[in-house]
């Protein structure tokens, strides 16, 4: 070690300088190893990165100090020959503070004047700042949780913050799975009401009588069972935002009441004589064609005019095919960290299939497909056989194939008769795995990449009894 530390660089300077003090000034972790990969010398940056000092690390094999994945999985120094070129690898290390740090490692042979290898020079670069930049970059094509880089989506990202600043009613339209809920929440979060409540009501989920009481509240004794006063969602959303999803399913009688509210901002609970002045911004969403509903008399025209102050239409995924790849990568990244997997990407064949699929369920369906594939995949890349069978079996979408317009909805677009639902697919997957493992549940769970309890729950859900 002493000889190396005493090394002098004569031709450059009038007087010899210490090697350690020279490499200390380089803002990159540097270690010098002997041919047995023992640490001879390291610089200050390396000390601060790993937490090991020169005195502690001297003479210790580098894999004990660097503690990098590449040290364990296959140290490149082991395969280096006299004529080998420097190697650059991305890996990670765990430092003394127990932090897992992504790093880029460069390894080169050190040679004496006779070109004989005498050791190794290793540089270790902290990749955290670069990874953070990457993470920021990946959010570049987004607004809140909406992702996209197609011109249609970019237009929406530009206009959403503008709409958010006003108190006007908003009507969001778009097919199922296009992100209407996310858009509504994004508007609320970007508005001055962000710190106030965001109350969501699904107009299609409750029967008419219950919905009225749910929205506007009731007084004690208003009807049988009304044992106490109920404030109602409008009142709960006071000073905040009320999000009415599936507004197309709102019964006509309640449409009148909503119309009254939009006019005078007063909420009259059932059975009450006095009203409550609610300061609520209304955002409504639907996948139905409200204009068509107005024509058939199922939706009030005057309510449509009042809701339609600001209108946002979220395009279906098939109209922004350029976003498919971006969304696939986004979901793969987030699912990788959620399921603690390390899937690198999609094979070219898989990508072709996924890009050609029409996605009648839009982004939600794409996310579900990604989740299925990440769960099933045990390889580095997602292959076609990791995708749900109904996608692989489906013929690629051709330009001439016209899907039903958005408002006619998903109901008219049917998938192939066989294995058409996600549930059926999953059930089949479990059955196949059970057959493969001879009915052993723990093996089956392992094969599927699930926990035992997940498998048990899903078996119960699909009524699979052993």
């Amino acid at each position: 070690m002493d000889t190396l530390q005493q090394s002098r660089i004569k031709p450059l300077f009038d007087f010899p300088i210490n090697l350690r003090s020279l490499i200390d000034e380089i803002p990159l972790g540097i270690i010098i190893l002997d041919m047995d990969r023992r640490i001879m010398l390291l610089n200050r940056s390396f000390e601060s990165l790993t937490g090991f000092s020169q005195n502690e690390a001297a003479g210790v094999p580098c894999y004990h100090i660097l503690r990098s994945k590449m040290c364990i999985k296959g140290c490149p120094a082991l395969n280096m020959k006299q004529e080998s070129k420097p190697v650059c690898m991305e890996s990670d290390l765990i430092n003394r503070d127990r932090n897992l740090i992504p790093v880029r490692v460069n390894l080169a042979l050190l040679k004496d004047p006779d070109h004989k290898a005498v050791g190794f020079l290793e540089t270790v670069e902290d990749m955290r700042p670069i990874k953070e930049l990457d993470a920021q970059k990946s959010h570049a094509y987004s607004f809140a949780h909406l992702i996209g880089r197609s011109p249609q989506m970019e237009k929406i990202f530009q206009i959403l913050p503008v709409f958010a600043q006003s108190d006007s009613s908003v009507l969001i339209t778009g097919e199922t799975g296009t992100g209407k809920d996310l858009a509504a929440e994004a508007i609320h979060q970007a508005s001055n009401r962000a710190k106030r409540p965001f109350v969501k009501v699904n107009c299609g989920a409750l029967p008419e009588t219950l919905l009225e009481s749910e929205l506007f509240g009731h007084r004690k004794g208003a009807f049988t069972g009304a044992v106490e006063n109920k404030p109602g969602r409008f009142r709960l959303a006071h000073n905040g935002t009320l999000y009415l999803t599936e507004i197309g399913d709102l019964p006509l009688s309640l449409q009148v009441k909503l119309l009254t509210f939009l006019d005078d901002q007063m909420v009259y609970p059932l059975g009450g004589t006095t009203g409550f002045q609610a300061n609520v911004r209304v955002i409504a969403a639907t996948h139905r064609n409200l204009e068509q509903m107005v024509q058939t008399g199922r939706f009030r025209e005057d309510l449509l005019f009042r809701l339609n102050v600001v209108r946002i239409h979220l395009p279906p995924l098939r109209e922004r095919r350029g976003d498919v790849r971006l969304l696939l990568d986004y979901f793969l990244n987030s699912l990788n960290s959620r399921f603690r997997k390390n899937i690198k990407g999609f094979s070219n064949k898989t990508l072709d299939i996924l890009k050609g699929y029409p996605y009648p369920g839009n982004v939600r369906e794409l996310r579900n497909i990604s989740e299925y594939a990440v769960n099933v995949c045990q390889e580095e890349k997602i292959q076609p056989h990791h995708l749900p069978a109904y996608i692989v079996e489906m013929k690629p979408m051709i330009e001439a194939q016209v899907l039903p317009p958005i408002q006619t909805g998903l109901n008219e677009y049917t998938l192939p008769e066989t294995e058409q639902t996600w549930g059926a697919m999953e059930r089949k997957l479990i059955m196949d795995a059970l057959v493969k493992t001879g009915g052993r549940r723990s093996k089956t769970a392992e094969l599927l990449g699930w926990g035992r309890s997940t498998l048990w729950r899903k078996m119960k859900q699909y009524g699979i009894n052993q």
Binding site: G59, H64, L66, R67, I72, L93, I94, D97
Partner: protein, 114 residues
């Protein structure tokens, strides 16, 4: 009261990484018995979660390891497993030092000759 100790291995040394170890040494230290029984368990794959699971199912009292992520360190500590981390050296010398009662986190038991 016997004490169960687990050391992730890399050859004869304490493994540099807890999460990448595929072999572990399990030993029971009983003060009434001079030599504890040692057994080496080979894991099907390297995984910090599986190793934590093994530690809990085997009711290990002490884990001696080198690099371990904070998340797993805190989890094991929370599960009342003593973790002595950042220990570098051969498992024999580490275990000897532990039995002597002088092993501490961050100890480097490497000589130039090792």
């Amino acid at each position: 009261m016997p004490e169960k100790i687990l050391i992730p291995l890399y050859g004869n040394d304490v493994a540099p990484r807890f999460d990448l170890s595929t072999e572990v040494l399990l030993t029971v230290r009983d003060k009434n018995v001079s030599d504890g029984e040692e057994k080496i368990v080979v894991l099907s794959q390297a995984s910090a979660e599986k190793l934590c699971h093994l530690i809990l199912t085997e009711e290990v009292d002490v884990v001696i390891c080198s690099g371990i992520e904070e998340e797993y360190y805190q989890y094991l500590t929370w599960k009342k497993v003593q973790v002595i981390d950042s220990v570098i050296g051969s498992w024999e010398s580490v275990l000897k030092r532990f039995y002597e009662g002088t092993l501490q986190a961050g100890d480097i038991l490497f000589d130039e000759k090792d």
